[in-house]
């Protein structure tokens, strides 16, 4: 079982992080007219870089939060977006930026799905008795 898990590589984790990012950007888009709302985003590249090094993050104390991929939300860093244009009501959502980020995220999500799909196809081929 663990062999199959391993053979999927990082793609499942990437997908779950992308999903989180979808949620965040959707939250930004939903609040594009809320006064004082500050747009947030996930520092995705940092999380990925960290996870590339070594997936396991050791908890040395009983109170430590989970390992990166068991509880990725607690370690993925949320940052506020820096607005390019100030608004009177203090809202920092710029829908053009949110849109492009949403689309970028969608394309990368699709890419990860594609990788995962080809892994599954490969495994199937290997398992077939021909």
């Amino acid at each position: 079982m663990s062999f199959i898990d391993q053979s999927f590589g990082i793609s499942p984790q990437v997908l779950s992080l992308r999903e989180q990012r979808f949620k965040m950007i959707a939250g930004n888009l939903a609040n594009s007219d809320t006064p004082g709302y500050k747009a947030v985003d996930l520092q995705f590249e940092q999380v990925l870089a960290r996870s590339n090094k070594d997936i396991a993050m050791k908890g040395t104390q009983p109170g430590h939060q989970g390992v990166l991929f068991n509880n990725s939300s607690s370690l993925a860093k949320t940052m506020y977006r820096v607005p390019t244009q100030p608004t009177i009501d203090g809202n920092t959502v710029e829908s053009s930026i949110e849109h492009s980020e949403f689309m970028k995220n969608a394309i990368r999500y699709q890419a990860s799905l594609g990788f995962l799909d080809s892994r599954i196809q490969g495994l199937r081929k290997a398992l077939r008795s021909e």
């Binding site: 949620k23 939250g27 888009l29 809320t34 969608a106 799909d117």
Partner: protein
């Protein structure tokens, strides 16, 4: 499938924006409503949006309409002694609503509505593709 919650988020925005469109249409419809006293005059309605924060990581998970606020601008007073609604001094009162402001507001609301629908559509595609994984 945490992607499903994107639908809740975008859906809350759709309903908030439609409430906004509703108040705008009410304001526009009552642009010329007159009354015999400043108290009776129509007051512009504006929805107050607020972000619903996710308890876990403090990110916005939705938007909601806190309340519908009434405009604070004093009603316009016009001298029209011949008007059937005129008061003893010959004045009629109407809400001080700017049609241009309301139209701009309406455009903003419809743009926001559109962008949330788009987010929902993209998410739907992603979900469908995920379901087709490995087929």
């Amino acid at each position: 499938m945490s992607l499903f919650s994107v639908f809740d988020t975008a859906g809350s925005a759709l309903s908030a924006q439609s409430i906004r469109l509703n108040t705008i249409s009410s304001n526009l419809a009552n642009l010329d409503t007159v009354a015999s006293s400043p108290e009776e005059a129509y007051k512009a309605r504006y929805p107050v949006f607020s972000a619903v924060l996710d308890g876990m990581n403090n990110n916005a998970s939705a938007v909601r309409v806190d309340r519908i606020a009434e405009g604070t601008a004093p009603p316009k007073r016009e001298l029209m002694p011949s008007h059937p609604m005129a008061d003893a001094d010959g004045f009629i009162y109407s809400a001080d609503i700017s049609a241009v402001d309301e139209m701009a507001n309406m455009l903003s609301a419809s743009r926001s509505y559109q962008s949330n629908v788009e987010a929902m559509n993209t998410t739907k595609q992603m979900l469908l593709q995920t379901l087709n994984l490995g087929k």
